[in-house]
Symmetry: C2
Subunit: 377 residues, 2 copies
């Protein structure tokens, strides 16, 4: 089952499956609205079910394809799709809209290959206890967290620190002054990874890295103060763990998402389909400390995480909305800082007691930040 088959991770996953035809039968494909890509995926992988969340596009899909397939539509369709049973689900729906299908699907699959970080940021505790109750494995796809997952297999009691690497995004060499005039297209030129649009902006602000810190905390139960970020431009080392005796272990591979996706789908097997690091050529890896002052949103996410209240759910929603405004050219890049900073200072701090609370604060935050953003447009 692939939730989000037409996005960047979904497409890479189908590349992986294409190379491992015999091992997998694609039971269902789900997309938001890109029916052009979806229909060719349907012809190739012949799933039993497809789901198109945008109802208008769902209607048009019917006319495009000849293959016999059950088409589910809209939110009710996504709900039904999430109830389908499978051995492995890849969760690659972007943003918080992944949370509900993920929460449901955990009950109907044996393993979730999880490529969505917003769900964990907003509802980590609930997801992991829910998965435990249903004995469903959650394996991280995100390259940094996937690297840690692999490194933690050698965990002993002497772990000292965890380092996540960050390429620094498209703007790491920009001076603060020039950030005002940054356009969406500048931000979308990521140096190493080709990814979706929001995550590429989140890479430039390091919100994405802040979310990975939260993921690390939830996946591996590492205290926040033992998680650090290193700027590493080449995105070849994805994470490092340091033991008390100062020995470090690093997990490396070329910036190719198919490698961690394949790992998450086939673990504990490892399948040889990809190009590794080419040691027949000279290359360099660079490491630089993070200049925290350059990334105010990273700091805000870090502080929010430590509060253990509704702050992360709120910030995640705000970021999704604000980035959308920026990508549409309605606000400046620096307005992302302003808007998130404003919300972080003015939200009512409440404990989150259920997954419904997550949805409540998510909605609340979307409304509030839109009101604020409109004053900036």
């Amino acid at each position: 089952m692939i939730f989000g088959s037409t996005g960047s991770v979904g497409k890479s996953a189908l590349d992986v499956l294409r190379a491992q035809r015999k091992q997998f039968k694609v039971h269902g494909l789900c997309a938001y609205r890109d029916i052009k890509t979806l229909s060719s995926q349907i012809e190739e992988f012949l799933p039993k079910y497809v789901c198109v969340v945008d109802e208008g596009q769902a209607q048009r899909l019917k006319e495009r394809i000849n293959t016999k397939v059950k088409i589910l539509k809209g939110s009710p369709g996504l709900e039904e799709f999430s109830h389908l049973e499978s051995d492995v689900s890849l969760m690659a729906i972007s943003g918080i809209s992944c949370l509900k299908p993920l929460f449901t699907n955990i009950q109907y699959t044996k393993r979730v290959a999880l490529a969505n970080k917003e769900s964990i940021v907003a509802a980590g505790d609930f997801l992991f206890s829910h998965a435990k109750r249903h004995t469903t494995e959650i394996i991280p796809v995100d390259s940094e967290i996937n690297a840690l997952f692999q490194l933690f297999k050698m965990k002993d009691d002497h772990l000292h620190k965890v380092y996540l690497t960050a390429s620094g995004g498209a703007l790491s060499n920009c001076r603060k002054k020039s950030l005002k005039n940054i356009q969406a297209k500048d931000v979308l030129a990521h140096p190493t990874w080709r990814m979706g649009r929001r995550i590429t902006v989140d890479s430039a602000t390091l919100v994405n890295k802040g979310f990975e810190v939260v993921e690390t905390h939830h996946f591996f139960d590492v205290p926040y103060e033992n998680i650090d970020i290193i700027l590493h431009r080449q995105s070849m080392i994805h994470a490092l763990v340091e033991f008390k005796d100062k020995t470090l272990f690093a997990c490396l591979y070329p910036p190719d998402m198919r490698i961690p996706i394949s790992f998450a789908l086939r673990y504990p097997l490892r399948v040889p389909h990809f190009q590794g690091i080419d040691f027949t050529k000279e290359f360099f890896l660079s490491f630089k400390p993070l200049n925290h002052a350059q990334y105010p949103l990273f700091q805000i996410v870090g502080e929010a995480a430590k509060r253990k209240d509704n702050a992360l759910a709120i910030l995640n929603a705000c970021d999704e909305v604000a980035v959308d405004y920026f990508l549409k050219g309605k606000i400046k890049f620096t307005d992302l800082y302003r808007a998130m900073g404003y919300m972080f200072e003015h939200y009512p701090s409440k404990k989150i007691k259920s997954i419904e609370d997550v949805f409540y604060w998510d909605n609340w935050a979307r409304e509030k930040i839109q009101q604020y953003l409109k004053t900036l447009c």
Copy 2:
């Protein structure tokens, strides 16, 4: 028990023990002839036994110290010293002279922290089966092999390749033409590690790296064709393992031998006494393929290893003698290539059936290469 306490590894080991006074009681110290260093080590660590292999120096040691300690002398003394019981022995005697005490001591200790590679190069099969019979652990101290030991804890069945890193030694930027005029002092200026004299020369010729390939094969049962070398100037990554899916794991720490020594002594514990990699400063790691043509002795060692006959025992002996000639200024640097090449072409290939065979061919090779070297002097 420390075999070779006055050498570079022995001194680092005592640094480690100094920081962990409560965990260790030094039972015995053994040195070849540096009684000045040894006597201050005796005053500080108060061992029950010391051994000085050079008999003249052993006599003079008595006059230097006030501490009550049993002094063992010469080869018979070393033999007696090797029979002393202990929990851990550090084997840091240089060269093939380590083999006999190591072989004996394996029967009287629970763990050998092994910092001598010549023994494994010349007699790997015998040593490992001997250790197995006596259920004695052998833990490698050598940073590259130690890194692999740590990485292999996460071994699964999908191992594809092992990469050892090499700094390339002092001469990696020398052109072939200028090698003739290289002096001992040029070779001894190693870029990253401070080590003994022979191993520093062996780093420049990459004989040392060839020996590590042999160690890797014996320690971890990796076929020779799956072991590769990468030039990595900074000596921070010590080894890498690559799995079939092209994911790599690297083991990193600053070039400080106390880290792997402490690991080998305290494993599975990890003790926090050392400076780690400083991530608050910018740094680079470089990786370059090995130009095999530049290192003919590395190739010879590799070929010798695959023959599984007496070649490695012979080459090890020849290297020890030839490097000694070079360090004394009797032959040129390029004569190392000539002499080793000559011996490799002219030795009688025989199977090695016992540890006595190893000693026989070691002696044989020493005589033969001396005859040859005298023609070059």
